[in-house]
């Protein structure tokens, strides 16, 4: 019996530790590195943001969650570069339940081909036995849509979002879900979560709440495609509060030519 018990040899130490295990497979990365994926990401149009996003842009085949305090903080301008590029590649962009009426001229100014956009209202009528996310899930699952932008109902349950996230695996393109800021306190199934906040005129503050990679402490400040003229932007920066004319007949012209 004793003969059977032998001391096991020490495990042979590996010759040297792998210097770059992340070179083995695109799905491997170190904790201090940004995550990568086999899918090519879609550039956001903002170099500072591209640097901080895993893969260097908006990810494909997963949901990207954007949290906003209210519509109209610059979210469309943030996403316009990616969505316009999708349209120029000949693919369809679908918008689900936009929170207000969209202005065709403003979208055309941002470079959109307005007539190629498809807008789906899922909450206009209550369909028995179905939910408003059915249409979004079908569109993600079909895999034929180029990009999806969806405004989710408030206080959405986590499993509903997880279901959408599973459906997004079939979706070859970026998919954005826009939610209220209070959702930041609850966990999410989406691998990317950003909080957006206006920070002055034409400046958007982006905090990356969740990403594949180390947490980012500092908030990014992105200069959006400007709405204001240079002079008006300077005025906003200086914080000068202009008093409007008291009576309509004596309007002060705030046009740049006058101020200069």
């Amino acid at each position: 019996m004793d003969a059977a018990i032998t001391t096991l040899p020490d495990p042979v130490p590996t010759e040297r530790p792998l210097h770059s295990p992340q070179a083995l497979h695109p799905a491997l990365w170190f904790g201090h590195q940004l995550g990568r994926s086999a899918e090519q990401a879609v550039p956001t149009g903002f170099a500072a943001l591209d640097q901080q996003l895993p893969g260097g842009g908006w990810p494909r085949r997963v949901l990207s969650e954007l949290l906003l305090p209210h519509p109209g903080v610059g979210e469309i301008r943030l996403l316009s570069a990616c969505l316009v590029a999708t349209q120029r590649a000949g693919r369809l962009v679908m918008l689900f339940d936009p929170p207000a009426a969209l202005s065709a001229w403003a979208l055309a100014d941002l470079g959109f081909d307005v007539e190629q956009l498809l807008i789906v209202n899922t909450r206009a009528r209550v369909v028995p036995g179905s939910d408003s996310l059915w249409a979004l899930e079908q569109s993600l699952k079909s895999g034929h849509v180029g990009a999806v932008l969806a405004w989710l109902p408030p206080r959405l349950r986590a499993e509903r979002l997880r279901r959408l996230q599973l459906a997004a695996h079939a979706h070859d393109g970026p998919a954005f879900v826009l939610r209220e800021l209070a959702a930041a306190e609850r966990p999410t199934a989406t691998p990317l979560r950003l909080a957006l906040k206006p920070r002055g005129a034409d400046v958007l503050e982006v905090r990356i709440l969740k990403r594949r990679g180390p947490p980012l402490e500092v908030a990014l400040r992105l200069a959006l495609p400007p709405v204001l003229s240079r002079v008006a932007a300077q005025r906003a920066h200086a914080g000068v509060v202009r008093q409007p004319a008291l009576r309509p007949a004596t309007f002060v012209d705030l046009a740049p030519s006058v101020v200069e």
């Binding site: 120029r88 000949g90 207000a100 709405v227 705030l254």
Partner: protein, 545 residues
Amino acid sequence: MLWIALHLPLLSLESFAATVAGGADPRAAAAAPLALMDAQRIVSANAAAQALGIKAGLKRATALALVPQLVLGRADRTRDEQAFEPVAHAALAFTPSVSIQPGESAETAPNTVLLEVEASLRYFGGLPRLLQGLLSALQPLNHRIHCVSAPTPHGAALLARVHRRLACADLDATARALEAAPVWLLGPGQEHWDALQGMGLRTLGDLRSVPRAGLARRFGESLLNELDRALGLEPDPRVAIVLPPVFESRLELFARADTTEQVLHGASVLLARLVLWLAARQAFVRHFTLVMQHEARWRRSHDAPRSTALEIALAEPSRDSAHLLVLLRERLARLQLPAPTIDLCLRADDISQRTVPNQDLFPTSRSEREGLVQLIERLQARLGPEQVQRLHPVDDHRPECGSRIEATNGEIPLRSGLARPSPVPRPALRLKRLKPGIAPSSAKRAAVVASPTRPRRPTPRPVWLLPQPEPLPEHHSRPLLGGEPLQLLSGPERIEAGWWDTALAERDYFIAQAADGALVWIYRARLPLSAVEGEQGWFMQGRFG
């Protein structure tokens, strides 16, 4: 000549089963015990009923005592013919010469279809692949099918009644197979069955071995003629059937369908028939109608309609049965039946002849387009066609009139990636400067256009427009939003339009910054003395998204 005989031994039972609504699950329908009876005796029973002990010859009371939930029906010649027709249509997709073997007796509906396929063999890649294609085309009808090929039509039809699968390559093989077949296969043989059995003639081989003259004297010429035709000794001309130019198929339901799900079960049977008819016509359906006849006695009110017609129009003609069924299910789910349905009728109103699209191995832009068409049709079927919308710019200075929302007409708003037009030009006159003397010089204007950091247009518009301009409170003539003063950054831009209709707008617009830094678009009504109350002061109309 090579003939294929498709024989449906359980046609009456299966056509009865199709009318029994088994709910949404077809497997549940198959599990329900069904039986057909004639003169108070069971004639045939399905597998579920046989497993419970029901067999042919049982009395009705005995069968019901054995299986109380047994659903009993009667064979119906019209119903069988309606169920048999799509089998012949399916065959027409493979060869133009299809004929129907008459029924075994005058009362029974025909249940054997004959296809002459010699000319089609090469196109379909040989007999085994042709048979495979034929049987998979018939799969949705849920019939049990005997399939026999032989050089003579009558030989194939006779052998199909006793063999499930058989292929006779030449006349000798057919003769050998027929010699082993029982003698009751021959139509006139049935009435002489007892006499033939008494003479010890059980198979067709026995019949051939006795002298012809004696047989002809005892049983008539027709018995031997039929055998000769089966063996190929006598000519056997057949009349090919012609596909009906319009499709209309009826299904009388066995039980009242109270819910749309039960209707769907019957409608799926009709849809399978439609798809086979379309395949035989090499066509695709663009518009079809499902008419539901209601039972008059059970109507909720007297003015309720006697029938409901459900019209389904497709953006892209299709004969994909799964897609058509999804559309029908979504439309039926939205429908409220005024009364129980007893009868269904499916009609193809508009078909289009097209070439069959090629199958793609890898996703292409065309396959993506087709997928999108189907997706949009599915969304429209559930949400309503008006909920899937497109935006159109309108040449109007008033922002609330600058966009028009239209329900998409099903056409995919996709252009090829390269041929993308430049953004739609704005109307030329958008800006009215208050002081025309100090208009920016043309050089400055050029700089505005050239600089990439500048907005492309001098008068930007907000992406989000509020449905109604929101009145803003005023404090020391400064507009407030959320209790905080707004900082005016740019403006005014005067918009004065709409004198031609009732919505006259005379406003001075400003871009303002809210306390949290977001930009909003506000205006002041320019006519403070206008009589209309509530149209004065500051309003917020949009947000820069």
